[in-house]
């Protein structure tokens, strides 16, 4: 019995091993194999931009072009499907309009020309169906955009009901991906045949009418999301080829890609240039001359891009090492331990970049004593970032001092006021921090019970406060809770929380760390707003309007981004200006003022970030690998990468 079983096993094994050998014969060398960590959804163009996670966008972006995009390295707005920048907004009756001219000669993957009608169709459909969600809310904000018109084959007119700023126009609507009208229109019309009630009510209409309207829209949107998208013509570098759910998605190179062969150059003086051989030449942001920062030609140079799903990070790295994939895309990059382990592999290359994410500590400014700026400034002073990142976390993280990352050179304001640093920029020692914090609190009217003041005890290296902090009105500061993710889930944030609490307790401020699961933490902080302080993370965008979102008072409702309820009239004014300023020259000073205000008032304290490690196979050639957010931010550059 055993012998027979063994022979059976042996036979099976032999067959399988033979197959292992056969596997190699199928490789097509000119395929860009990307590893991703979760399967993208199978939604169509409309649904994907409602709720998309990183993987959805990674697969969709190479297939789509927008009117405008952002330049490499400097992330400035440049025309893509448009031929040149949009015309300035001018009033036309009650509305504000701007026109955009499209490039001549752009074709869809099925050969048909891309015209203004496609642009108008895409945005008008989004408005008509009230599409909400990650990208649609930015591209087709019904509170501002009322309609888009195709004036002629190559001219598009944007009509706004209220004046949008750069935030909503250049950095909103003009970044929209465009869908093919000749494919979608018949499908859309068929789907909503017979549906009524899709006309937008007048501005002052009854709440009930609005609700009914939204309900009809939701129904219609569902139908829209369910439409099939096989053989949809696209304008990007790649066309959808095949999907094996749960395993891989394959895209094939688009022969009609307009930008194939176009030369992109960035200059040290900030200038940007595009040149199409036997075609147009475009330059912006300065004179295209002098030293070059980067120069490359657009492809696609690979015949296919394949996205392979590996649901475990370690397994994905193994796949990289055994050559099953060429690069791994992950918004968090690789943990340092894994990155180190592949450094010695001669086939792989490791790169490190600054990431777009940041971690922060937020105060609930509705409660005492967090209401008081002096208290927050004292906390910021006591918090020794460098000690944690250098001594405790040992370089696993680096300190952040601003909510606009340094790598975002267009908007980052350097030399912001900092708490806990000496005038020359070096971090204060613990003694200096304690002294300064006490100074700030005393000046604001705080005292301690037993009439004592925390003094630095040089022998033990602590500030052993004997009393509890008292509010200016004499009441004791209530026991505060600092909410954080648990150590097992994220040791970095937990470490910051534990140490911050320790430092605050030393000075007589009663703080207790409470560790929660991620969902519970979000529920208590963002949704219920029942907290004193918390530590979480978020992402910086390219245009600083997100700063407005974090702290303006209209966002202080439950579920909004201003969970701490920060309310400052000066900030609200600046925020409004930021959302309506029309040019970079107008917006930059406002953004600077916001950064200074926040650095002084610290409703949130910026803590740290970890940077992003990425790995790829050396057979890939990229025009550059140092870029804000890393290669994953650019989805692996499939239209530009070459296989050597």
């Amino acid at each position: 019995m055993t012998r027979r079983m063994l022979t059976k096993f042996g036979l099976t094994f032999a067959i399988l091993a033979t197959l292992a050998g056969c596997g190699g014969a199928f490789q097509d060398k000119n395929v860009y194999r990307i590893g991703i960590l979760a399967q993208p959804t199978a939604g169509n163009f409309w649904g994907i931009h409602a709720i998309a996670n990183y993987w959805d966008l990674a697969v969709q972006s190479p297939m789509r072009l927008s009117l405008f995009g952002v330049s490499d390295q400097r992330f400035q707005i440049i025309p893509q499907l448009a031929a040149d920048f949009a015309s300035p907004l001018i009033p036309e009756g009650d509305a504000w309009v701007s026109t955009v001219k499209l490039r001549d000669g752009v074709r869809w993957s099925d050969g048909k020309p891309l015209t203004a009608r496609d642009v108008a169709f895409t945005l008008n459909t989004a408005l008509r169906f009230g599409l909400a969600g990650g990208n649609w809310s930015a591209w087709a904000d019904a509170d501002y955009l009322s309609a888009v018109e195709a004036v002629d084959e190559l001219t598009v007119k944007f009509i706004y009901a209220s004046k949008p700023g750069m935030a909503r126009h250049e950095w909103g609507t003009l970044l929209a991906s465009i869908a093919a009208e000749h494919y979608w229109q018949p499908l859309v019309e068929a789907a909503v045949e017979g549906m009524t009630g899709l006309e937008r009510p007048a501005a002052g209409a009854d709440d009930k009418i609005w609700e009914a309207y939204q309900a009809r829209q939701a129904e219609a949107a569902e139908k829209l999301y369910a439409l099939a998208n096989k053989n949809e013509p696209v304008s990007g570098a790649f066309v959808f080829s095949k999907e094996e759910p749960g395993s891989f998605i394959e895209l094939a190179a688009n022969k009609n890609y307009f930008f194939s062969g176009v030369a992109f150059t960035g200059f040290e003086n900030g200038a940007y240039q595009e040149e199409k051989p036997k075609g147009y030449s475009f330059a912006a942001y300065g004179t295209p001359e002098g030293e070059k920062s980067y120069a490359y030609k657009s492809g696609p140079f690979v015949s296919k891009t394949v996205y392979s799903v590996y649901s475990d990070l370690n397994a994905a790295v193994l796949a990289l090492q055994s050559g099953e994939i060429d690069i791994l895309l992950n918004p968090q990059g690789l943990p340092s331990g894994l990155a180190e382990s592949v450094e010695s592999d001669s086939n792989l290359e490791v790169v490190k970049n600054e990431s777009v994410a940041f971690r922060f500590l937020a105060f609930n400014t509705r409660r005492d004593p967090m209401k008081d700026a002096a208290f927050r400034q004292a906390v910021a002073t006591l918090l020794d970032r460098e000690f944690l990142t250098d001594s405790i976390l040992q370089g696993a993280a680096y300190p952040l001092h601003s909510f606009v990352p340094e790598a975002n050179t267009a908007w980052h304001k350097p030399d912001l006021p900092r708490w806990g640093y000496l005038p020359d920029g070096t971090p204060m020692s613990r003694e200096e921090r304690v002294t300064k914090a006490v100074e700030l609190l005393v000046a604001a009217g705080y005292s301690w019970s037993d009439d004592t003041i925390p003094v630095w005890d040089a022998n033990n290296g602590v500030a052993a406060a004997t009393g509890t902090l008292l509010l200016p009105d004499g009441e004791e500061v209530p026991a505060l809770e600092l909410l954080s993710l648990s150590y097992g889930y994220d040791p970095l944030r937990a470490t910051f929380a534990i140490w911050t609490a320790q430092w605050l307790n030393e000075v007589g401020i009663p703080v207790r760390v409470k560790q929660l699961g991620f969902n519970a933490l979000i529920a208590r902080t963002i949704q219920e707003q029942d907290f004193d302080m918390f530590i979480l993370g978020n992402q910086a965008g390219l245009f600083p309007s997100y700063l407005s979102d974090f702290w303006r008072s209209s966002e202080a409702v439950k579920g909004g981004r201003n969970a701490g309820g920060y309310s400052n009239r000066a900030f609200d004014q600046l925020s409004d200006q930021l959302l309506t300023c029309a040019t970079y020259e107008e917006c930059k000073p406002v953004a600077d003022q916001i950064q200074v205000l926040i650095a002084n008032a610290v409703p949130w304290i910026p803590l740290f970030d970890t940077g992003i490690y990425e790995v790829y196979n050396k057979r890939l050639a990229f025009p550059y690998t140092q870029t804000f957010g890393g290669l994953q931010y650019l989805y692996g550059l499939p239209s530009v990468v070459a296989i050597q």
Binding site: A20, G23, G43, S137, Y225, P245, F248, V309, S311, L536
Partner: protein
Amino acid sequence: MPDPRGWKSETVMRRYVVLRLGQIVLTYFLFLVLIYFLLEALPGNFLGALFGESRLTAGQLDALGAQLGLQGSAAERFLQWMGGFLRGDLGISLSQYPRPVMEILAERAPRTLALFLAATLLSFSFGFFAGKILAMRRGTAFETTVTVGGITLYTVFTPWFALWLLWIFAYALRLFPVGKFITYEMWEAGAPDANAVFRHLLLGGLMLAMVAWAVFRRTARLIPARKRAVRTASIAAALLVFCGYWIVTGQAAYVLDILYHMALPVLTLTLISFGGTMLLTRSSMLETMREDYVLLARAKGLPESEIRDRHIARGALLPVVTTLVFSLAFAIGGGVITESIFSWEGMGYTLMEAVTLSDIPLAVGAMAFTGLLVLAAHLAADLLYAFLDPRIRYG
């Protein structure tokens, strides 16, 4: 005088089954209600998870919430879901919007089933076999070594162990692929749909199992020599038909590719779970070895092997079969860890994602599916006990 073969009486059995079915329906609905409100009661909802990533303001989040059907109270949502459920519509997943839940489950269930059924059957066969031997070789060094090995493998930390096996066999030795269930290069455009192949594979496997079961039952009464010949012949014939089908439809290479990818996860799962069955069998066999009917069989002078296989093993089967039936039901739930590490996106992985992202339609849909199977398995197990141990009576 009650019928001495009381349990075998048709009416008693039928009454029992009907009673159980009624209880099953009740339990199932109770389960659905419980699970739905439990998930709703967990902190946070789906929109909360979007906090770090999206640029939505409060007003926009509200609009999105309306579109996703997140307005209203939990009770309203439940009634709406239940209405859909009774019509066979499990709703639309939130995390994979706008994909219907049913579609997601239909895609992932066959994969999990194939993997875990194979692993469970293998691990149980091997465990049972090893446990039998352990019981007979009580007190020897062999027993100690195998026991230690079994326990170590059972209690080893699964993710670490699975990753190491992956490292050894897929990376260092390049014998197997690094997880996933198909090789991209083989399945480019033109190849059949992998999930369809999985379903056919499962169906074929099930038919093969049924044939094997029928053959074993029919030949139970033959004399040993004849028995072995007939059994081997029938199994061989069935296997031939099975393989022939694949070759004829041109999908043989694809099926082999899938089996090739299944090898490593199945090996891992078997290694980490056979220890449990082995020790359970051993315990159980030792228990039955001292039973009176065994003593009687020995007194009758029956050969040792027959005593072992016919009498002891049969009695020992009871707890093992119970656990097996349940493991088969759990097979559909899948194991999150194994599925993650081997990139085998199945039910376990789906459920974990759904629960952590508060994607309630998907989570409830997945559990409604697996829950039904568990209930069916329990009923099957109860019927099997009665079959295995003639002294058990119901009613």
